[in-house]
């Protein structure tokens, strides 16, 4: 019997990463890697990665599926426009983030000529135009469409606003020769979030247009399809893990935290409704699959930003170093953002950076409660998602996979008695995605859910949380 296999490709910003997967075992057979060469010719990096994989496998099989995701060439850069900041503008942001976009701008209310010019100079890959509930405000989305058309916007535009004027908005855009398409309103009724259709539309544009615009389709003979931006593949991986399939039980509500060089991404799957009695939920409903990106929390490009946020003195004390030594390590990183820790001290420094990135990123992603005084007594009000009962927290990214104290780093995601208002997970199972398989599982889920789930489960390694305390014993300061 021949091996059924799939090739999963991640065209990243630094590397072209390959995973060859045995579909029946749901296991990674081998991994290969090459440089990212999307700015010159994507084939060079792809060929190098394939050669690497071939060496490791001792020959390449005929793959049944060859699927790719991409975050190359700056990822999928998007700008969103809505009406009220906390309503349709926020819904548009949620739609874009959940589709795996890199959000480079988010606007609310009427755009000025200056705003429109700024949007065009940022050259987004896609613009998502929302505003008004169905049958609600018409004026602003029409105004904004006209401003963008007048400024000669030249990227594809997805219209996901008040459906009553959607056709008029499309006409305005077409008259300026804009590639325009419509989707369902991101907020069809007041406070009803409807982001999935817009997310699907973003994905369609990505496949039809962006893959070509970024030069990824030059390698078209080497894969069957580029399905989505890599963060969307991670989101799909998270969803399939949470929900399971007919044969494999899902893990239920979960969180994935990905600590990267420039950003920390958090994905949560779950409705996030209040878990305590009598709590009033406030604000826009939260998406079941929610993604946030923290642009100021990254291990390399934002190492200094993390230290500054914590305070250099505090950070040094926490990491067990002197402030001077922290500064020296930061300068090493500034000089070489590709730097991989070489000494024990550098590894400890990275763990301290990562713990702070995780704790801050989760705190921002999670909801919070506030006690409000009313005439009839105190009332507990919840903003955002209640993640306290989340069953699983999965860490991914180099520092968690290769770091010395992944338990401690990931434990920074947990609920903290000192800030009981922050609805972070109380007692989850902590896991590390050792094989960097979540994006691969997300891609594979599109064709073979069973193999995707086995692949993800084979890659996830539970952390021994009983050892959590021992990691506090640190070696003496360097």
């Amino acid at each position: 019997m021949t091996l059924r296999s799939a090739l999963l490709i991640d065209f990243g910003s630094t590397y072209t990463k390959l995973r060859a997967v045995d579909l029946d075992a749901g296991a990674i057979i081998a991994a290969g890697q090459g440089p990212s060469t999307v700015t010159s010719d994507i084939n060079i990096g792809m060929d190098a990665a394939l050669a690497d994989l071939e060496t490791r496998m001792g020959g390449l099989p005929t793959f049944d599926h060859r699927l790719a995701s991409s975050s190359a060439a700056g990822g999928l850069a998007m700008i969103t426009v809505g009406l009220v900041k906390e309503l349709t503008a926020e819904a548009a942001r949620q739609a874009a983030l959940g589709a795996g976009a890199k959000l480079i701008g988010a606007h609310a209310y009427k755009l000025t000529d200056k705003d429109a010019a700024a949007i065009i100079s940022q050259s987004p890959d896609i613009l998502l135009l929302a505003g008004g509930t169905d049958g609600g405000n018409e004026e602003t989305i029409l105004w904004n469409a006209q401003k963008l058309a007048d400024a000669s916007i030249n990227c594809p535009v997805i219209v996901a606003g008040n459906r009553v004027v959607a056709d008029d908005v499309v006409e305005i855009m077409k008259s300026a020769n804009v590639d325009v398409r419509t989707s369902e309103n991101v907020m069809p009724e007041f406070n009803v979030l409807n982001v999935e259709p817009a997310r699907a539309a973003i994905r369609d544009v990505f496949i039809e247009r962006i893959v070509h615009a970024k030069g990824i389709d030059k390698a078209a003979e080497r894969f069957d399809a580029v399905l989505m931006p890599t963060p969307a593949a991670v989101m799909d991986g998270a969803k399939v893990l949470a929900q399971g399939s007919d044969d494999i039980d899902g893990l239920g509500n979960l969180i994935i935290v990905d600590v990267g060089g420039a950003t920390t991404d958090v994905h949560s799957i779950g409705d996030g409704k209040p878990t305590a009695e009598g709590v009033l939920q406030y604000g826009l409903p939260e998406p079941y699959a929610k993604r946030t990106v923290e642009g100021d929390l990254g291990m390399r490009h934002n190492a200094r930003a993390i230290v500054d946020a914590v305070g250099a003195e505090n950070f040094a004390a926490e990491a067990g170093f002197t402030a001077e030594y922290v500064e020296a390590l930061l300068q090493n990183i500034d000089a070489d953002v590709e730097r991989i820790p070489e000494t024990e001290a550098e590894a400890m420094f990275d763990s301290a950076l990562a713990s702070n990135a995780v704790s801050r990123a989760i705190a921002r992603h999670a909801g919070r409660i506030e006690i409000k005084q009313s005439v009839t007594g105190p009332v507990t009000v919840q903003y955002g998602k209640d993640l306290t009962t989340t069953g699983t927290v999965i860490g991914t990214g180099g520092v968690l996979v290769h770091g010395h104290t992944p338990e401690k780093t990931l434990a920074a995601a947990l609920y903290d008695d000192r800030s009981p208002e922050s609805l972070r997970p109380k007692n989850p199972t902590l896991m590390i995605d050792r094989g960097y398989a979540l994006y691969a599982a997300g891609l594979l889920a599109a064709v073979d859910k069973f193999a995707a789930l086995k692949l993800a489960h084979n890659s996830l390694t539970p952390l021994d949380s009983t050892n959590k305390e021992t990691t506090h014993d640190r070696p003496p300061a360097a």
């Binding site: 405000n137 009724e189 009033l280 009313s374 009839t376």
Partner: protein
Amino acid sequence: MSLEPDQRSKITLVTGVIGADTHIVGNRILSMALEKEGFNVVTLGALTPSEDFIKAAIETAADAILVSSLYGQGELDCRGFRDMCVEAGLEDIVLYVGGNLVVGKQSWEEVEQRFQDMGFDRAFPPGTRTDDVAAHLDKDFASKVSGEAA
């Protein structure tokens, strides 16, 4: 003269209980009744800050905001409400307020006048029937609706 259901369905009302007030029942009954009468009702619920009424009205292009206040602090909570509407570009929006608007024994005429001076088009005392509200809405929107038909 009361409006036809299809005329009422073109009128969007935003309603909720303002301030730190948790008394939701009366407002819920009003919302359900007005919806049944054929109006397009956006319900915000209890504990609603004044700016949230305005944000909801912008997004839904509401024609009127109906503010409930049951705990006696209405006068404080509603102060500057009309100004905030004007600031947000909702100069022409119709504003109603109703409930136990003040504490103590005060003449209703005085209370009504005070709320009208604050920029509310109508103020309603405790015990107002939901069909009274619907009738007033019909009256206030008759010209708008017939204007559109013409």
